[in-house]
């Protein structure tokens, strides 16, 4: 499926109230198309800024489906997350508006939502349907917002490398992304470090590690052990404004905003503690688990 002429010029906003009206069972099953004209009426286009141009986003999504077609669709996440983030340049205030993500899922790329999330048809469930939350749902479940937020919370300043690592493990979305421990940059990067080292490679260990950190977070304030740098709003602003001239590469990793990163020293301050937490955690299921 290609973008074609049906792609709007600008991205827009779509309220949950209007969105849910169109999420009928046939639509969730993929047997019926979204009523585009009706949807267009309900949508409010964003300002005419190059960062809100819909075309490049649609092309990026097409590229993802092309690259990972025939493979496990979950693998598209690690590729798409940093690039979507680098293309839709915005601050957290803007990203917190879920109407933006509703628009992407219902108006811009419902085909991607179905492609990425459709369960396999089984005997018991011959016509499977996509969970509604992948279209309209919390930030850690909705198909596009989860990618953007994973990129936002796992990147280390301009470096999207950690995002690729995190998005290679579905537990990053299912567990880690929704816990407040991830608001702390040094905690996020230390978890990435443990994932890179190989100790925490699969879903279950990552789930166990996240839970252990989250529990220990009831008594420990990691933010004091390894203080985050203050957020550099101006640097972030500049990066957002730079959207007009930036070009997101498909093969090379893009660059994120240089709005504050943690150093190896910060990670080293937490690493021994996290190793210890992991060592004492209850990791259920000894055998390597599937990632989803």
């Amino acid at each position: 499926m290609t973008a074609g002429s049906q792609t709007p010029y600008l991205l827009g906003l779509l309220s949950e109230r209007d969105a849910t009206r169109y999420l009928t069972t046939p639509v969730l099953q993929g047997v019926e198309r979204m009523p585009r004209l009706a949807l267009d009426k309900a949508c409010t286009p964003l300002d005419d800024e190059s960062r809100w141009e819909a075309g490049p986003v649609r092309e990026l999504i097409d590229e993802a489906m092309e690259r990972f077609d025939g493979e496990k669709t979950t693998q598209a996440d690690a590729w798409l997350a940093p690039r979507l983030h680098a293309m839709m340049r915005m601050n957290r205030r803007e990203a917190a508006d879920s109407r933006r993500w509703n628009f992407l899922a219902l108006r811009l790329a419902p085909d991607y939502v179905l492609w990425r999330n459709s369960p396999k048809a089984t005997k018991r469930n011959p016509v499977p349907q996509v969970n509604r939350a992948h279209f309209v749902g919390p930030y850690h479940k909705q198909t596009f917002s989860r990618l953007w937020w994973a990129a936002e919370l796992f990147r280390n300043g301009p470096d999207y490398g950690p995002v690729e690592v995190a998005c290679g493990n579905q537990e990053s979305f299912n567990t880690v992304l929704r816990l407040e421990i991830i608001y702390h940059q040094a905690t996020a990067q230390t978890m990435i470090k443990l994932m890179q080292e190989g100790a925490v490679r699969k879903g279950r260990p990552l789930n166990g590690l996240a839970k252990a950190i989250n529990s220990a977070g009831s008594t420990l304030l990691f933010d004091v052990l390894a203080p985050d740098p203050p957020w550099d709003g101006r640097a972030h602003d500049m990066w957002v404004k730079d959207a007009a001239s930036a070009f997101v590469q498909y093969d090379a990793l893009p660059e994120g905003p240089d709005d504050g990163s943690v150093t190896d020293r910060d990670v080293d301050a937490l690493l021994p503690l996290f190793r210890e937490l992991f060592a004492t955690a209850d990791i259920r299921g000894e055998k390597p688990a599937e990632s989803e």
């Binding site: 309220s15 949950e16 109230r17 209007d18 849910t20 009426k41 309900a42 601050n91 957290r92 205030r93 803007e94 990203a95 917190a96 508006d97 879920s98 109407r99 919390p138 930030y139 937020w149 936002e152 919370l153 407040e180 991830i182 608001y183 702390h184 008594t219 420990l220 304030l221 990691f222 933010d223 004091v224 052990l225 203080p227 985050d228 957020w231 709003g233 972030h236 602003d237």
Partner: protein, 319 residues
């Protein structure tokens, strides 16, 4: 609430108090009524200063000093934590120790990292029995920094919008233009719409006779709570352990408010489990609806307000 908690080390408890003594938007101070110690609330919406970038909140934290000094805590520090779930943002500010033993500092709220309502609390952190970074105490009640409120007196209520239901700017209401009110329980903020084209409705609510006004308000509120509750039920998910998770935002608040009256003999957690399992089992029927009606009636103060209305009517007829 925390009598069932066990700490693996000595703590001071949630005994600190915090004050917000000054708020500046881009360096310009806000009037004092934008911060209320009583409501523990700071309002940041100022009609003449819409485009601000940074709010600076001067905070001061007091802890019981004698208890603190007597305890086994070393390297005690105090931090203010500003966080908002909607924007996944947290700012931790280390406060400085003042000569009088309190802690003070300035918390910066970057507008581009916050949307609606941020939570501001303070924590005492210390080295305890050789373990660094332990939280040993916190504020009893945290502050709410509301970016959309224009007064610190505004409680966190469901938004009420008076609008003509035939107004094309509100297409979703156009289908209900003969209705007096409508509850929108979708999205991040629930809204009660009052139809201004419904003759006399807003006049009665704003300036009508007190008993009539309150009785009508109770009816609308009862409808609103019912709609909010039903929406919240559908937003409640099971965790992987098979326990229901409290929905976030207003949906969680609605659950917390109504469940104790719906399942009086169950703890809120058990009540939530009961609710979700009935939904899964398809038992959302009669009994639950009766219990919900009871809870909503209480929440909307229907007995008192209807009773007052009846009495007032009787008086009028008798005279």
């Amino acid at each position: 609430m925390s009598r069932n908690r066990l700490f693996p080390y000595p703590v001071l408890g949630d005994v600190c108090t915090m004050q917000v003594s000054e708020v500046r938007l881009d360096g310009v101070p806000l009037t004092v009524d934008m911060a209320s110690d009583r409501n523990k609330m700071v309002a940041l919406h100022h009609t003449e200063r819409q485009g601000w970038e940074v709010a600076r909140l001067a905070v001061r934290v007091h802890a019981p000093l004698s208890d603190l000094e007597a305890g086994p805590w070393q390297d005690v520090t105090c931090v203010a934590i500003l966080s908002e779930r909607r924007t996944n943002a947290r700012t931790v500010t280390r406060l400085r120790r003042e000569p009088d033993g309190s802690w003070a500092g300035a918390v910066l709220l970057e507008r581009s990292r916050h949307l609606k309502r941020a939570d501001l609390s303070a924590h005492l952190v210390a080295t305890v029995e050789g373990v660094q970074g332990r939280m040993i105490g916190a504020t009893q009640a945290s502050w709410t920094v509301d970016l959309q409120a224009s007064s610190a007196d505004q409680p966190n209520t469901v938004e009420i919008v008076v609008v003509d239901f035939a107004d094309v700017a509100y297409p979703h209401l156009n289908g209900y233009k003969t209705d007096p009110w409508m509850v929108d329980a979708t999205g991040d903020e629930p809204t009660v719409y009052l139809n201004s084209r419904f003759d006399g409705l807003t006049k009665l609510l704003d300036s009508g006779e007190r008993a009539a006004r309150e009785n009508l308000s109770a009816q609308i509120a009862a409808d609103a709570w019912t709609a909010l509750f039903n929406a919240a039920v559908y937003a409640t998910d099971m965790s992987e352990e098979g326990r229901p998770e409290w929905p976030e935002g207003w949906r969680g608040s609605v659950m917390q408010k109504l469940l104790p009256d719906i399942f009086p003999e169950l703890s809120p957690e058990d009540g939530l489990l009961e609710l979700v399992s009935r939904r899964v089992d398809g038992e959302g029927g009669g009994e639950l609806q009766s219990a919900l009606m009871h809870a909503v009636t209480r929440q909307a103060a229907v007995p008192r307000r209807l009773g007052g209305f009846i009495r007032a009517t009787n008086r009028k007829e008798g005279s």
